[in-house]
């Protein structure tokens, strides 16, 4: 039964990928990539990787579709045709792919528990995680405690992405859009035009934000955690922006404040690490945070998940504002 589902989903994935390759209308490609992302997330679920599926769903289908739409709103909707037929590139790619496939013949079977990679740290994590760290969700304990410094790196990468977007587009560029709309007196009054959508979405936004908070704090017990919660929180604000307009959304949440909030998240994360060093332990060693090691781990994981969630939310929203205000400047 699992085999049939896996084979079917992979076939759909292949068909979608081929279609994305052959079609050259960018809007259609964005639609198909939404389907691709949903298929990937289903495959992750059949492979029992629920946290990854969660993140793929929230980011791949929601945020990426919205960002890509903002992008093609500012550029062309037709892919430019290649000036030559890239036969040499095709040959190189096929040769490299064949060599890689030949290299995988020596690897152990997919998911084999006797594989060498599963013999060193994995048994330690699986056996000791409940005693040493505490949360029932081993993924959270690995992400937040055993490999906390890698997660700090990921959070800083997200923050850097936000920095580069702000560096390229600038807070003044985003603010100019809002000022321009207000100065020209453009209040596109679609209050009556989209009454149904406005009311429904107004009803949903608080529930979405509440669900994001649930995902944030429930990451210890089920799939969830800081990344997914930040993305869902940003999705709530994106809903607001879609219905009420970019200028009102930037009044609710000014881009500069988003920049400060993003920095605050990384500061919380790094601050926990420095605090543990000041209290006598290693960097990001949560055992020294409280009297008992398990309580210290719990507090440490709570704080850094908060930092991750705050940073991810603010940077996602900042990037969305930046892209959408570019499109607005052309109108």
């Amino acid at each position: 039964m699992d085999l049939i589902i896996d084979i079917t989903l992979l076939t759909f994935l292949g068909i979608t990928a081929l279609a994305i390759n052959r079609i050259d209308k960018l809007f259609c490609i964005i639609m198909l990539s939404g389907i691709y992302s949903l298929l990937c997330a289903s495959l992750f679920v059949t492979m029992d990787a629920v946290d990854v599926a969660f993140t793929e769903a929230a980011v791949g289908t929601g945020i990426v579709t919205v960002l890509l739409l903002s992008t093609i709103g500012a550029t062309d909707t037709q892919q430019r045709s290649a000036p030559h037929r890239p036969l040499l590139a095709l040959l190189m790619v096929c040769t490299t792919g064949a060599i890689l496939i030949y290299g995988t013949m020596d690897m152990p079977a997919f998911g084999d528990p006797e594989a060498p990679i599963h013999q060193h740290v994995a048994p330690r994590y699986i056996n000791e995680s409940l005693h040493e760290v505490g949360p029932p969700n081993i993924v959270t304990s690995i992400l937040a405690s055993y490999r906390g410094i890698d997660t700090l790196g990921e959070t800083v990468v997200i923050f850097t992405a936000g920095l580069s977007v702000v560096g390229l587009i600038g807070f003044r560029g985003m603010q100019k859009f809002g000022d321009r709309k207000r100065a020209a007196g453009i209040t596109r009054d679609d209050m009556d035009e989209h009454l149904v959508l406005r009311i429904i979405i107004k009803m949903f936004i608080p529930l979405i934000l509440l669900f994001a908070l649930y995902v944030q704090f429930h990451g210890d017990y089920g799939p969830g955690g800081g990344f997914q919660a930040g993305v869902i929180f940003a999705s709530g604000f994106i809903f607001y922006t879609l219905m009420y307009g970019l200028d009102k959304a930037m009044q609710v949440m000014p881009p500069r404040v988003l920049g400060y909030i993003g920095a605050l998240g990384v500061l919380i994360y790094g601050g926990v690490g420095v605090t543990t060093m000041l209290l006598g332990g290693n960097f990001l060693d949560y055992n020294v945070l409280m009297h008992e090691p398990l309580h210290g781990q719990h507090l440490g994981i709570f704080l850094i998940e908060l930092g991750i969630g705050i940073t991810v939310f603010s940077i996602m929203l900042l990037i969305f504002f930046a892209f959408s205000s570019r499109k607005g400047l052309r109108q």
Binding site: M1, T8, M31, L38, A41, V50, A53, G62, Q78, Q331
Partner: protein, 110 residues
């Protein structure tokens, strides 16, 4: 006697078939709206497939993921429709078949 797990398995297979037809419509669909509708329907079917898979394998954790999918599916549908709105004013009749996708957006604004 057919157990309830067989019903789940049968429903999963039927949902996979429906998803196949939906992908077909997304690739073929002569107009852009056909594709948006297909993606929306695909998202709904994915939610149902995940709920059934969760019950089939005995792990109800998957329902959190199903809830998130329902949410982001709705978000992306609304986003696409606002995208259409921003590009074609209401008083300009635009042909939404594939041929119209070749039009440079700069020529439809102002």
């Amino acid at each position: 006697m057919i157990g309830i797990t067989h019903i789940y398995a049968g429903a999963c297979l039927a949902l996979l078939a429906i998803m196949g037809v939906t992908i077909f419509r997304a690739i073929l669909g002569p107009s852009a709206f056909d594709r948006v509708m297909a993606v929306n329907m695909f998202g709904t079917k994915t939610v149902l497939l995940l709920s059934l898979l969760g019950f089939l394998s005995g792990r109800p954790d998957f329902l959190d993921i199903a809830l998130v999918y329902a949410l982001v599916n709705f978000l992306s549908t609304i986003a696409i429709l606002r995208f259409f709105e921003g590009r074609t004013p209401a008083d300009e009749k635009v042909d939404v078949s594939d041929a119209a996708q070749d039009v440079n957006p700069a020529s439809t604004e102002e």
